[in-house]
């Protein structure tokens, strides 16, 4: 019982939505989404995170999305355990040679329609590992990428804002067509 009263007494420390409404510099590279998908993903977005050889910095930030401060779940964004259940692949890290194949298989295992987001500088072009013999390069060299979230690593806030604007931009793109 004491735990219940403690929970009730504790104030919520959630990040307010108006902070999240500012624009972040999401780089969009594919223009294939249409309006219907936006309707689909607006209220419910299932993310599968693929670590393609990152330094784990991005993972730390992504984990933070689900905590009580950022609480991505209130936007219907949640992480899932299988690519079969996912709508969005979040790929982190420069794709190492060992992970290239796994990444490709994950992409193939995800049912359409799907969005691929490269999170962090490493995923965009290799970052500090650029040109290393151990890596293949950015995520786009292995699978088609729709959005990029720069930063090394991008902060959790930045990722959340980007995610929201990605969902929004799906709509705007669709509206133009």
């Amino acid at each position: 019982m004491s735990i219940h009263s403690k929970i009730i007494a504790t104030k919520q420390t959630i990040i307010p939505i108006d902070v999240l409404s500012q624009e972040e510099d999401v780089v969009q590279i594919k223009e294939k989404m249409n309006k219907k998908i936006r309707h689909l993903f607006k209220g419910s977005l299932a993310i599968r995170e693929v670590d393609a050889g990152s330094s784990n910095a991005e993972e730390q930030e992504l984990t933070a999305l689900a905590n009580t401060f950022y609480d991505s779940e209130r936007f219907g964004i949640h992480f899932v355990a299988s690519p079969r259940h996912a709508d969005m692949l979040m790929v982190t890290g420069p794709v190492s040679r060992n992970m290239a194949r796994a990444l490709k298989k994950t992409y193939e295992a995800t049912p359409e329609p799907k969005i691929v987001v490269a999170v962090g500088d490493g995923a965009i072009d290799g970052g500090i590992f650029k040109g290393s013999y151990g890596i293949v390069g950015g995520v786009h060299e292995v699978i088609p990428v729709h959005f990029q979230i720069p930063g090394d690593p991008p902060s959790a806030k930045q990722i959340l804002i980007s995610l929201l604007s990605i969902i929004e931009s799906l709509d705007r793109k669709g509206a133009k067509k």
């Binding site: 929970i7 919520q12 609480d71 209130r74 709508d87």
Partner: protein, 308 residues
């Protein structure tokens, strides 16, 4: 007949709300707003509009299981009373039939888990069947005292007649309810038995079996689970706390009874979520101990019933 068709449409439509409520309460217990309670509807809608990726190793068992599972979860909902006396004439409303129907669903789901040949699916099935085998007995033994007190095994009838029970029989029903709660937790995959939100394949039970599903079939399975949760909540609410069920069949009292039922279900679900929030998941081989406790509760209730 009309009422049955109404229930067949209405109850599955309401069921995802139950999942939403539990998630919302759990989120609030974690000091965060969490997803809205209609989030499950969005999820289902999205899944119905996604393509499916199905393994090449999958046989027809994998393909038909979601339909069977969903159909069974709808059919068992018909058998549970929502209104009251107006719906006691369900030809398969016997509680054994309902429990075994649910077992049929689990049987097929476990087969589907093995079907694709993924190691995760296989051990998910193994664990699910282990728990289901032990849980079935609890469910039978906790509903049996109510059947004895009301002298019928028809679920709707049990609930209707339970409204007239004397206060003293509630002593027996209290134990039965405690046992039933344990059965509810294990059958719907709640903590401490299974964690529906886990991402770790090695700790999964139910999730491990459905890792391979996607698109509309995943939606059906998720929905069937929501139905199952709703079924157990409704059954628990209306069998053990039957006040609110109506003896009349005019529209007004039916509507009132429906609202009462839904209110009770809501309360029960909140209680479930509260319990779930404050306990940790148990080690797999500790689970039979809890199940045995539930079984003993059932036996105490039966003995107490006959002593009355």
């Amino acid at each position: 007949m009309l009422l049955i068709i109404l229930k067949l449409i209405l109850l599955p439509l309401l069921a995802p709300l139950g999942v939403g409520i539990i998630r919302k309460v759990k989120a609030m217990m974690q000091s965060r707003p969490g997803a809205s309670i209609i989030q499950p509807y969005f999820d289902l809608w999205k899944l119905f509009h996604k393509n499916e990726t199905i393994s090449r190793d999958a046989s027809w068992i994998f393909l038909v299981t979601p339909y069977i599972l969903f159909a069974i979860s709808c059919i068992v909902l018909i058998a549970v009373p929502v209104f009251g006396k107006a719906e006691i004439h369900v030809p398969f409303g016997d509680f054994l039939t309902v429990i075994f129907l649910l077992a049929t669903g689990t049987f097929f789901l476990a087969l589907a888990g093995i079907d694709v040949g993924s190691p995760f699916g296989g051990f998910g099935s193994s664990r699910e069947m282990t728990l289901a085998a032990l849980a079935e007995a609890i469910l039978i033994f906790t509903l049996l005292p109510v059947a004895f007190l009301t002298d019928t095994t028809n679920i709707a009838m049990m609930a209707v007649l339970a409204t007239n029970l004397s206060m003293i029989s509630y002593f027996a029903l209290l134990f039965a309810f405690l046992g039933y709660l344990i059965a509810l937790f294990v059958e719907t995959g709640r903590i401490p038995f299974d964690n529906a939100a886990t991402h770790l394949e090695l700790t999964m039970i139910h999730e491990a079996m459905i890792l391979e599903y996607s698109g509309k079939r995943l939606a059906l399975i998720e929905w069937a689970n929501a139905n199952k949760l709703f079924f157990f909540a409704l059954l628990g609410a209306n069998i053990f706390f039957p006040s609110g069920l109506t003896m009349y069949s005019d529209t007004m009292s039916l509507l009132l009874a429906l609202v009462m039922s839904l209110f009770k279900v809501g309360v029960l679900l909140v209680v479930v979520a509260l319990i779930e929030s404050v306990i940790a998941k148990y080690r797999f081989f500790r689970l039979p101990d809890i199940l045995l406790t539930g079984f003993v509760f059932g036996i105490i209730a039966i003995i107490a019933t006959n002593a009355l």
